[in-house]
């Protein structure tokens, strides 16, 4: 009786092995292949921080003092729109629209007079060489790339970007709050600038 049970158990085990072994072997081979083809580079937070520090220095050296202070204090940069509404019409200083540049988020177009949000322009700068396993630039490099592309050739960048209505990625309440923070920030700078001017001092940057 015991012998018969043991024999049956052996047969069942052998049949189960036949069923399980194939997929198991495949799974192991897939894991090995994944490890072999895509070695995950060690994530080094120190390297990322150093990259970001370098990118911030570069950004500071390229944009104006006001834009740099804006990014440092608020985390975004405003760029005035430069595209004439009609051929021959220059918008200049009275630009009817502007953009907010956030790191690794869409560029947001809005009307400064009314704070009405116009569009989100989704754009990326992927480096397919992936030197450290990632195609993503440091935050400040992403902001600088957007700033250079917008101020250098606004139309080219906007035509490249994917256009979406506001609210797709950027929370409109968050953006409205950022616009309010920007107004407060500008008032404070004006006040400090005025005081420094009256006192014959240069405002601290």
């Amino acid at each position: 009786m015991l012998l018969a049970l043991a024999a049956t158990a052996l047969v069942v085990l052998a049949l189960l092995w036949e069923v399980v072994a194939g997929p198991l072997r495949e799974q192991v081979a897939r894991c090995r292949a994944r490890r072999a083809t895509a070695p995950a580079p060690d994530y080094d937070p120190g390297r990322e921080r150093r990259a970001e520090a370098r990118a911030r220095t570069l950004l500071k050296s390229c944009v104006g003092e006001e834009e740099w202070a804006m990014y440092r204090d608020l985390g975004f940069i405003r760029v005035w729109g430069g595209e004439p509404e009609r051929p021959g019409q220059q918008t200049g200083a009275g630009a009817p629209y502007a953009y907010l540049i956030y790191p690794h988020k869409p560029i947001l177009a809005y009307l400064p007079q009314t704070a009405r949000l116009l569009n989100e322009y989704c754009v990326e700068f992927p480096d397919e060489t992936r030197p450290y396993g990632s195609a993503r630039l440091p935050d400040s490099d992403d902001v600088l790339a957007k700033w250079m592309a917008l101020t250098g050739d606004e139309r080219r960048l906007i035509e490249t970007a994917n256009l979406h209505l506001p609210g797709r990625q950027l929370d409109p309440r968050h953006v409205k709050r950022d616009l309010w923070r920007l107004r407060q920030w500008e008032r404070e700078r004006e006040r400090l600038g005025g005081e420094a001017h009256r006192g014959g001092q240069v405002p601290a940057s």
């Binding site: 570069l58 390229c62 030197p131 630039l137 440091p138 250079m148």
Partner: protein, 82 residues
């Protein structure tokens, strides 16, 4: 003139430098410029505009780069994001 390239996980990297008034240097810079554009980079030159306003100029060829430019920054070409 210095050529800088933005790199993920690194920040900018100096890829070439030279004096555009020296013929050998200029040829090397022209060649590197082409190589970067062929590799899918955009080239930008930060400029000091009127009244101290800063802007940038995108260059599609080395001839577009002002002779007195101090640096050219290469960054990956823009693509529509999600």
């Amino acid at each position: 003139m210095r050529f800088l390239r933005m790199k993920p996980g690194h920040g900018e990297v100096l890829i070439a430098e030279g004096d555009v008034e020296v013929r050998e240097d200029e040829e090397r810079l022209v060649e590197e410029f082409r190589r970067q554009l062929d590799a899918g980079m955009w080239a930008a030159i930060p400029l000091q505009g009127s009244a101290g306003r800063r802007t940038a100029q995108l260059a599609r060829s080395f001839a577009d780069v002002p002779r007195d430019a101090d640096r050219v920054i290469f960054f990956p070409r823009a693509a529509g994001g999600r």
